[in-house]
Amino acid sequence: MNIDNANTTAVNRMMEARPILKAVAPAKDVIPGMKDNLFLHAGPPIEWARMSGPLRGAIVGAMLFEGVAASEAEATRMAERGEVEFDSCHHHGAVGPMAGVTSASMKVYVVENAERGNRAFSNLNEGYGKVLRYGAYSDEVLKKLHWMNDVLGVALADALASSSGIDMRALIAEALHMGDEGHNRNKAGSLLYLKLIAPLIAKVVKDDSVESEVLQFLGDNALSVLNPVMAACKAMTDAAHGVEGSTIVTTMARNGTDFGIRVSGLGERQWFTAPAEIPVGLFFSGFSQADANPDIGDSAITETAGIGGFAMATAPAIVTFVGGTPKDAMNATLEMYEITFAESKFFTMPSLEFRGTPTGIDLRKVVELGITPRINTGIAHKNAGVGQVGAGLVRPPLEIFEQALLSFAEKYDL
């Protein structure tokens, strides 16, 4: 076994993946293993009893949305009694921001890796304010979800069906040259997405007021592209998973209670977890660190694929998250080169003379240097339904990388 060769294979599969946004379809039609009483969530698998406020809220909301339960109380009771099933999005090729809760009839983005044929999925982004992904489930929230499913989702599905798809690798590469890092800042990417999808929507949506409504919604939401970007990153990192002897990290995800990682050369369902940390950052007015929930969401898939916090050097507009000066942003990216195996061939950063983003977290380097990946993240309120309270930086606990290294050594008899 040669670890470096295995890692080369894994990282090449990751960065050479060509994720194409192909379709929007109901989860149960496209997501492998999806069924009516199954609720997918962000992060490593977790049982109801250990779920944090925002995740519980999102699950309640999804149960109400699906009509599985008629009230919060009923939903909670059913969840407690095990009358519905939960599973990690990652076990089904899916990812979702924050709570990441995805249910059977929700429309999801379908991204296909043109290089290897693997597919990845992500739900639609709801925008700001009171939203399911932060655990809100009021009527208003559910109403928006239905509109998204029945109007927005249909428009997107028809639009994509009328095209050969949207090349997400090219979109991300371009957005990185426009001040996005692809995780916390997606303004440029969302505009690029709108630019690409708008003519298609105009072509397929016959009702002018619906067309206007849909375009307005996509344009107002600077996070529109986050979910397709995450699915693209998932398609990339899944392509790198399962390479025998590889120490490349292929998943980093949080469920609001635990932080979990998976490693290419280890099992498909072999998670290494520890309690998630509380992100440190800047808060919206009226909120403080005390309101923050432990780290939550699958969006760390962006860092896993070499963008997000790893590409901080290219996103000067949000440097305050990392200390306040462009120099700090530069240093943040330079630090991530320390623990990655390669530099991206396709995602480059003008501020570093078009150097490729740090790509492919190498378990060995993380443990050797004691440097954990930097993740840019939104911060959820610890209570269900309050929503986002800030944004900042978080790192996974070092011990999960140490656990993974020990398991690797055991599996490969080192």
Partner: protein
């Protein structure tokens, strides 16, 4: 009772991150209870309302910047709002911006690709690992750390030698490369003297004194104290001599060490002779074999080493034995010395021990060099035929040449013998014509050997004066006519013999790249930060690695990581 003041700015776009920071700035002001700074979208207004921060009757569009301050009193609120612009333009002072400090060697190399040296001063048990990684990255190593095992030192130096790289150390305190001091080093001018030093303070003393005497240093290459032990075999010192020999900017070399192992000393002296440049040797505490052997000068103190090195800069044609006296190929086979004078024999042995080792004798320098049987030579041997062992029932060889003639024939019959060295002591009491008896034998042996076993060289030391009864001049010419090389002092003979046996061996190692060594020094420092600061202060390019023990010092993880690295070679 608190008050709320607000201010709206039309069309002023700020990123939400900037606004959150402004908000934090406002909260730090005195008298401010709460603050909200947002673009006045409906969602944001709802958010303000939820926190009791939305004033009534505000008029603002979604594109407006809305600043709301809740304070103890009007004055505090007004003052806070008045400071918004200042807060918005507040920058971190530039001194707070720090260059990225890499944590690993590989990142440091990317940051300073032109780095040709790695300075290592981490705790000993980690030092070998860092050194190994440096060599793999193609960098020379200055290894200040001590407590590196001998095995590690040997394997590091062997690996470096294969790659044409230098490992200076472990426990190397001092070096000067291209005018830049590494570790502890004095400020000395650049110049034509190269130093190879197995002793840090020794190197400092010599380089400082060279400077004080007006000379300068091309490179001072440290080796670490154990380099000249048998186990290590002076790998670094040999590489250093070789590269300084090839360096056109080095005219004179000084070789400084604590006493080396005898076998190592012999090889080093032979290598020093091969440089073809004047080399001043000072092996502290090691008896100087001579003042000078060919291009080698032996010093008896650090300051004398510096003086001699500086002196040699102004000397031309310093070889007293002309190189044309030496045949093209160097002498092969063994030396056999057949002496009538015990002191002459001993002085010759002392002189030769640096270049020929070991030399066996019936009256040796050290016991392990004692001939098992005085009647039978072994390897290189110098026999004192005037020893009482031979004197039973026999005249002293200064009077009677018979014993020596028979021994000469005995030695000549041994094909492995390449040179016979003997003394002829004239004067009152001695044989009246020793040359007359020895010359025919020498002639006969030489002719016979040329036909059968290969050439045999004779070298004679003739001690006497022009007033001696034997006629010094005719004694010398008789021996010379018979084909012997004649010297009038043991010193000259020692120099000649040393040079004849000095081998111009082809290096068996990859030569250190001279061009690279002469490039401006750029260093990666791993360990003591003061070494980094010193490089920067000297105007060298440098990067400091923020080094920590691998896996935070967890030995189990660290050993697994080491295995996972070595998998590369499978």
């Amino acid at each position: 009772m608190s008050v709320i003041k607000w201010n709206a700015r039309a069309g002023a776009y700020y990123d939400s991150v900037v606004l959150m920071q402004l908000q934090r700035g406002l909260l730090e002001l005195s008298g401010v209870l709460d603050a909200g700074v947002v673009m006045a979208t409906q969602a944001n207004r709802d958010l303000l309302a939820a926190n009791n921060l939305l004033p009534e009757n505000i008029s603002a569009n979604p594109d407006d910047l809305l600043i709301v301050v809740k304070a103890d009193d009007d004055a505090s609120a007004e003052s806070a709002i008045g400071q918004v612009d200042e807060l918005l333009t507040r920058r971190k002072s530039s001194s707070a911006q720090q260059e990225f400090r890499p944590r690993s060697l590989s990142a440091a190399v990317k940051q300073l690709p032109e780095a040709n040296w790695v300075l290592i001063s981490v705790p000993g048990r980690y030092a070998a690992g860092v050194a190994r990684e440096s060599l793999e990255l193609g960098k020379h190593v200055f290894l200040y750390s001590d407590n590196v095992s001998l095995d590690d030192e040997i394997s590091l130096k062997k690996s470096a030698r294969e790659k044409g790289l230098l490992v200076m150390g472990p426990d190397c305190g001092t070096a000067i490369i291209n005018g830049i001091g590494l570790g502890f080093a004095n400020h000395v001018r650049r110049g034509l003297i190269g130093v190879v030093g197995a002793s840090g303070t020794g190197t400092q003393a010599v380089t400082a004194q060279i400077h004080n005497l007006g000379g300068g240093i091309s490179h001072a290459i440290g080796t670490g104290g154990r380099d000249l032990k048998s186990d290590v075999g002076a790998i670094t010192a040999h590489q250093a001599l070789d590269v300084l020999a090839r360096d056109p900017d080095t005219k004179v070399i000084a070789l400084i060490s604590k006493p080396p192992s005898p076998d190592v000393a012999t090889q080093l002296i032979s290598a020093a002779q091969s440089t073809g440049k004047p080399v001043v040797v000072y092996f502290i505490g090691y008896p100087a074999p001579a003042r000078k052997i060919g291009n080698l000068w032996f010093a008896v103190s650090l300051s004398e080493a510096a003086e001699k090195a500086v002196e040699q800069l102004s000397h031309k044609g310093t070889m007293s034995v002309n190189s044309d006296q030496l045949s093209v190929s160097s002498r092969k086979g063994y030396l056999r010395g057949l002496f009538s004078g015990g002191t002459l024999a001993f002085e010759t042995m002392v002189g030769l021990q640096a270049s020929l080792s070991p030399i066996y004798s019936n009256a040796p320098i050290t016991n392990y060099q004692l001939l098992k049987d005085p009647l039978k030579s072994e390897a290189h041997s110098i026999v004192d035929l005037g020893d009482e062992f031979f004197m039973v029932g026999r005249l002293h060889p200064m009077i009677d040449n018979d014993l020596r003639i028979r021994r000469m024939k005995q030695e000549a019959a041994d094909a492995e013998v390449g040179m016979i060295l003997f003394d002829v002591v004239l004067g009152e009491g001695s044989h009246l014509d020793p040359a007359g008896e020895l010359a025919p034998v020498i002639k006969e042996i030489r002719e016979k050997r040329i036909g059968e076993l290969g050439e045999l060289e004779f070298v004679a030391i003739v001690i006497g004066t022009d007033e001696d009864p034997q006629n010094l001049q005719s004694q010398v010419s008789t021996l010379e006519e018979a084909g012997a090389k004649v010297f009038r002092t043991a010193t000259e003979a020692v120099e000649y013999v040393s040079l004849r046996f000095g081998s111009k061996k082809e290096n068996e190692f990859t030569p250190v790249n001279l061009e690279q060594l002469n490039q401006p020094l750029a260093g990666i420092n791993v360990g003591l930060e003061s070494f980094y600061e010193s490089l920067i202060a000297q105007g060298a390019q440098a990067v400091h690695v923020e080094w920590k023990p691998p896996a935070g010092g967890n030995e189990r993880l660290a050993s697994l990581l080491a295995k996972m690295k070595s998998k590369k070679e499978n």
